[in-house]
Symmetry: C2
C-alpha cells in the first residue's frame, strides 16, 4: 500500500494514537518497534488542540513529529460512544463535548474538512456507528444514512482535497478517502452496504460497527459475510479489532488493515500478551520471577527486564510500567503481524494459523 508518507506492507496492525500520541510511547521508540502506520482520532483532535491549530502547524505528521503513515477516523465512532446529548439528523450530528459540555455539530462535510486539516494519509467517510444490539429496521435506516453520508463525504473530499497541509502529491501520492461498511449483525445488510459502497468507488473500504459489544463469533461472521463483496485489489480494513489470535485469523481471511486500543489499553492495566498466552503482571507469582515477560519475544522490554521488576513497577504505580508494558504489547502485536506477512510470502500461512489456534486453545490464561 503506497501512501504519501510511507510504503505500508500489508496485512498491517495500526497502533492507536488518539490524541496525537500512542499513549506512553515516544515516537522514536514507536519507529524502532516497526510501526508503519498509526491512527489519530478526529473527535479528540478536533476538541484539543483543534484541527485549525494542527493545520497551521503543518498537519498531524509535523505536529507530532511522526514521519511514517497516519490514518484518521471520521469522528463518528467517538461522537456516538463518548459525547453526550447526541441528536442525529439527515444533516449530521449535534453533540456535546465529553470534556466540558460545549455544543458541536459534525456533518460529513465537516468531518472531511477536519480530516483534511489534520492531513493523515488515509481519512474515513463520516458514518453512523450503529449501536449493539439494534433491530433490522433500525440497522437498515442507519445503513441508509451512512451511505448517503459516504457520498457526501466523497463529494466534499473531491472538492477540497487540495487543502491538506502538506504539498500536493507528496512522494507522488495524495490523501485517500476510504468508505465504511455498516449493516449491524445482519449478513444481508452487510452485503447490501458493501455493494452500494463499492458502486461509489472508494480507493479502500473499512468494515465498521464491529467490536461494539457483540459476541466475538458474530464479529467474525460479519467479517466473513462482508469481505467477498469488497474488491480484493483495494485495501480492506476492519476497524477496532482484536486479540492477537483474532488479528491473525482476520489477516488469513484477507483483511489488510486492523487497529485496536487493546494492546495499549491492556498494557496500562497490566495485561500483557505473550507467546504463552495472556498474563496479568500484578500477579503475586511474578514477584521473584527473574525470567523475561515472554521468552520468545525479542522486544527491548523482554531483552532487558524481568517479570519481577515489571511487577514491582506496576504494583508501585510507576509511570515506567505504562511505558514498558505498552512497548511490549505493541511489539507483540506488530511482530505477530510481521510473522503473518512472512508466512504469506513463504506460503506457510496455514501452519502459522494452526500454531496460533493451538496456543489459544492451550488456554494458559483465558480471557482478561
Amino acid at each position: 500500500m503506497i501512501l504519501p508518507h510511507a510504503a505500508v506492507q500489508t496485512p498491517v496492525f495500526m497502533p492507536v494514537g488518539t490524541q496525537a500520541t500512542v499513549k506512553a510511547v515516544p515516537q522514536h521508540l514507536l519507529e524502532e518497534l516497526g510501526a508503519q502506520i498509526i491512527l489519530g482520532n478526529t473527535y479528540h483532535l478536533y476538541l484539543r488542540p483543534g484541527h485549525e491549530v494542527i493545520r497551521r502547524l503543518g498537519g498531524l505528521h509535523r505536529f507530532m513529529s511522526w514521519p511514517r503513515a497516519m490514518l484518521t477516523d471520521s469522528g463518528g465512532f467517538q461522537v456516538f460512544s463518548l459525547s453526550d446529548l447526541r441528536k442525529v439528523t439527515e444533516e449530521g450530528v449535534q453533540f456535546r463535548s465529553h470534556l466540558n459540555g460545549s455544543s458541536h455539530f459534525f456533518s460529513p462535510e465537516h468531518s472531511i474538512d477536519v480530516q483534511i486539516a489534520l492531513g493523515a494519509d488515509i481519512i474515513m467517510a463520516f458514518d453512523e456507528c450503529t449501536e449493539y444490539p439494534a433491530d433490522y429496521a433500525r440497522v437498515r435506516q442507519s445503513l441508509d444514512i451512512t451511505l448517503r453520508w459516504a457520498q457526501r463525504s466523497k463529494d466534499h473530499f473531491a472538492a477540497h482535497r487540495d487543502e491538506r497541509p502538506w504539498p500536493a502529491h507528496f512522494a507522488g501520492q495524495t490523501q485517500s478517502l476510504f468508505g465504511i461498511v455498516q449493516g449491524g449483525m445482519f449478513t444481508d445488510l452487510r452485503r447490501e452496504s458493501a455493494e452500494r459502497l463499492v458502486e461509489m468507488d472508494f480507493p479502500g473500504y473499512a468494515i465498521g460497527g464491529l467490536s461494539v459489544g457483540e459476541p466475538r463469533a458474530l464479529t467474525r461472521e460479519m467479517i466473513e459475510a462482508t469481505l467477498p463483496y469488497l474488491p480484493e485489489d483495494k485495501p480492506r480494513y476492519v476497524m477496532g479489532v482484536g486479540y492477537p489470535e483474532e488479528i491473525v485469523e482476520y489477516a488469513a481471511m484477507g483483511v489488510d488493515m486492523m487497529d485496536c486500543v487493546l494492546p495499549t489499553r491492556a498494557a496500562r492495566h497490566g495485561l500483557l500478551f505473550t507467546s504463552e498466552g495472556r498474563l496479568n503482571i500484578k500477579n503475586r507469582r511474578f514477584a521473584e520471577d527473574q525470567g523475561p515477560l515472554d521468552p520468545e519475544c525479542c522486544c527491548m522490554v523482554c531483552a532487558r527486564y524481568s517479570r519481577a521488576y515489571l511487577r514491582h513497577i506496576f504494583v508501585t504505580q510507576e509511570l515506567l510500567a505504562a511505558v514498558l508494558n505498552t512497548l511490549h504489547n505493541l511489539a507483540f502485536y506488530l511482530d505477530t503481524m510481521e510473522s503473518v506477512r512472512d508466512a504469506i510470502q513463504l506460503g506457510v500461512l496455514p501452519a502459522l494459523l494452526a500454531r496460533v489456534r493451538a496456543r489459544n486453545n492451550g488456554g494458559a490464561t483465558g480471557q482478561p
Copy 2:
C-alpha cells in the same frame, strides 16, 4: 571516582530513582542521556518490594537492569519526612509505613543491612535529618546522635560488607559507606559535625539536612561553612540540591556529587529548565509555538518535538508528557554538569559561572 559498576566523572549530578526507577524513563534512555550514577531510596525499596527480595534477585543493579553506578540513601530522610508516628530513641527509629500504617523499626545496623542487601555502589550512614527550623540545643542533641549512629553504621558495615549481592571486589572495587554531616543552620555545629565525622575516616562525606525548607542563601552558607572541614581528596556530596544555577555554583565551590528530585518532579508538573530560564509548558503562549523547548539543547526531545506539541500532550494529560518532560529536564541537568566538568578541564570555570549567573539574573521566568 572509581566505583564497582562505573568510573564516575565528577562533579556529577545523580538522578533520583526512588522505587528503582527514575520516574517515567526507561533505563536505556537514561544511559543515552549520559547518567553515570543514580539514586535508590532505601525506605521505599525496604517497603516494596523488600530488600530481601532484591537481594535474592541479585541486588538493585540486576533487579532494575541498571549497569552503571548506584547510591542508596540511609532511609533516614524518608523516615523523618514521609512516615507517621515516629519515635526516635538512642537505639533507632520506630515508624509507621506511609503506605499502610504497618509498624517498622530502623536502626543504624538495620539501615546498613538493608543497604548491603540492595547492593548499591555507595551506601550512606543512618542519620537523623534535623527538621527546620530547630534551635541550637535541639540541633546539638540531634548531631550527637547522628555521630553515634555514624560509628555504629561503620562498625556494622565493616562486619557485614561481604554480604552484598554481587561478587566480592567487582572490577577490583567494593561497596563504600559514606558519612553524613548534620548540624542544622549553625556554622559551628556544621564544623564540629564534619570534624568528628572525618575522625571516623569514611571514604566519602555527605552534607545532609539541607533543602529542608530553609532560604537558599542559608543552604549555600552551610555548604561553604562545611566544605573546608571535609578532605579534598575524598568525594564531597551535598544531598538534595538544587536548581541548575545552584548545582553549578556548588560544583565550583568544590562539591563533587549532588542529587535532587527537582528535574524529574518539576517535569511531571510541566516546569521545564532551559538555557533561557524556566518555563511552564502549559502556558497558552506555547499553543502554536513550533520552536524546540530549548534552542540550545541537543537532547532527543528538543531535537524532535515542538513546544506546541509538548504543551498539547501536557494539557491533555498524556503519559508521554511526563516521559518527554523528564527526558529533557534530566538532559539539561546532566549536560549542565558536563559543561562544568569541561570548563574545569579547560580552566574556564569562572567564565561558565559568570554566564550561568547572568542567565539567572536575566530572570525571564523567576521562581517556579
